[in-house]
Amino acid sequence: MHEIFLDELKKLNARFMEMGVLVNDLIDRGTRSFVEHDKKAAQQMIVEDKEVAKEAVKIEKKALELMALQQPVATDFRVVISILKATTDLERIGENANSIAIETVRVKGNPRLPDVEKVISNMTHQVREMLVQVLTAYVQENEKDARQMVLGHAKVYKDYKNARQMIIDGVEQEPDAAVASASYFVIIRLLERISDHIVNLASWVIYKTSGELFELIKPDPKEK
């Protein structure tokens, strides 16, 4: 009987990881399409985002089924619950990546600020690396690495604040870039949100491995 549960759990874990890879790819494509002004790639991506949502529903269904029919407790319970909760965060990350693609379509053809786009590229790189790290920590049940995500997020948050100032300065010097700047604001905010969801993922890794449930300390968004 328990082999069946463990087997199902293995499949569920594999699905979750696949979804993670898919979402990571979306972040890359979303920002790349923006920086490379590739409207077509962005449009293609908007269509594909529905796949992530579908995959999330499949994972959730399976996890709920395991909860109801196998009634796991203790460690097994934590594993299933963390997948269930982490899937929501992963799905949100996918949605945020998709919103970046939508900005690409919106801003196409308007004057841009290359320096800001460079910062956006860097932030994207950082966020993607964090996602890979947190998913690896998830698989390896590495609580220590999961806790490191707070540092990564602090860096993203700092970049976010700097980028905001850069955009303001940039649009002052080049008022034609106002339309693009509106999108820049949205995108840096989305990247910061993605990073925030990654910290949530990290807290699910910690819950899964140790049973400790708490919110990892993040920078206060109200702080100027």
Binding site: H2, F5, P72, V73, A74, T75, F77, R78, G211
Partner: protein
């Protein structure tokens, strides 16, 4: 939190066979402690030590201490009847005596020498109410207890145990012979009674343990593997083997 009972390094031997290898466990007042573990792990043997039900077995040797309100119940000065007045017991199969509900519940009081009819009547009613069986028996108090359903019989037995106002009630798989509805009624009864009594329950029903207990002790092969609050045990047990047992991976 005060402990009503406490076992300290309790070992039990049947001849040369050691069935309990030194169990230490405290039972906090007004809490329900569930003893869980695979068949033959020693949980019922341990439970029966708590009111000296194993004493009459041939060639048995029990060492260590079991303190009830600070006094060792295995001390030679202890009066067994007095001990069992303080530590009541409810068994797996409902065991009503083959006479009326009233006489069943009054039995312990009469044994204890209570003569006051009014007091007995009052205690019988109170105990039946506490065991949540009053409404079903109040018009049939003279009916033979065996004429009631299994679930009702078990609650009559709980009322009988409560009538003498024990400190601790031992429950040996109290619902395993009952259907889910009767079991759930017993569970509700226990939840309400926890305000007043301390319960120690052996159960194979892990969901039941998670629902009604405050503390869980997991025994295996005569040893206490792990104990802790029910939340801790069912969410984050410290040992892998506890997790495996709770998820039905053996036993």
């Amino acid at each position: 939190m005060t402990n009503v009972m406490e076992a300290k390094n309790v070992k039990l031997k049947y001849g040369n066979f050691e069935a309990l290898h030194g169990i230490s466990l405290a039972f906090p007042a007004q809490k329900l402690t569930a003893l869980i573990g695979p068949s033959g792990c020693g949980k019922s043997t341990f439970l029966r030590c708590l009111n000296r039900m194993n004493d009459d077995i041939d060639d048995i040797k029990i060492t260590g201490e079991i303190l009830l309100e600070g006094k060792d119940i295995y001390h030679s000065h202890i009066d067994l009847v007095a001990l069992r007045k303080k530590v009541g017991m409810v068994f797996q199969q409902p065991t009503p005596f083959p006479f009326s509900v009233f006489d069943n519940v009054a039995y312990g009081l009469r044994i204890a020498g209570v003569k006051d009819k009014e007091l007995i009547e009052q205690r019988v009613e109170e105990s039946l109410k506490q065991a949540a069986i009053w409404n079903e028996t109040k018009d049939n108090l003279q009916r033979n207890a065996l004429a009631f359903s299994g679930g009702q019989q078990q609650r009559i037995c709980i009322a009988r145990a409560l009538a003498i106002r024990p400190e601790v009630v031992l429950l040996d798989e109290p619902t395993s012979a009952l259907d889910p509805i009767s079991s759930s009624e017993i569970e509700e009864t226990l939840m309400a009674l926890k305000q007043k009594y301390t319960f120690i329950m052996v159960t194979h029903n892990l969901q039941q343990a998670s629902r009604v207990s405050d503390q869980v002790a997991f025994l295996m092969n005569g040893e206490l593997i792990e104990s802790g609050s029910t939340q801790e045990m069912f969410l984050s047990p410290k040992k892998e083997i506890t997790n495996n047992y709770l998820n039905g991976r053996f036993g």
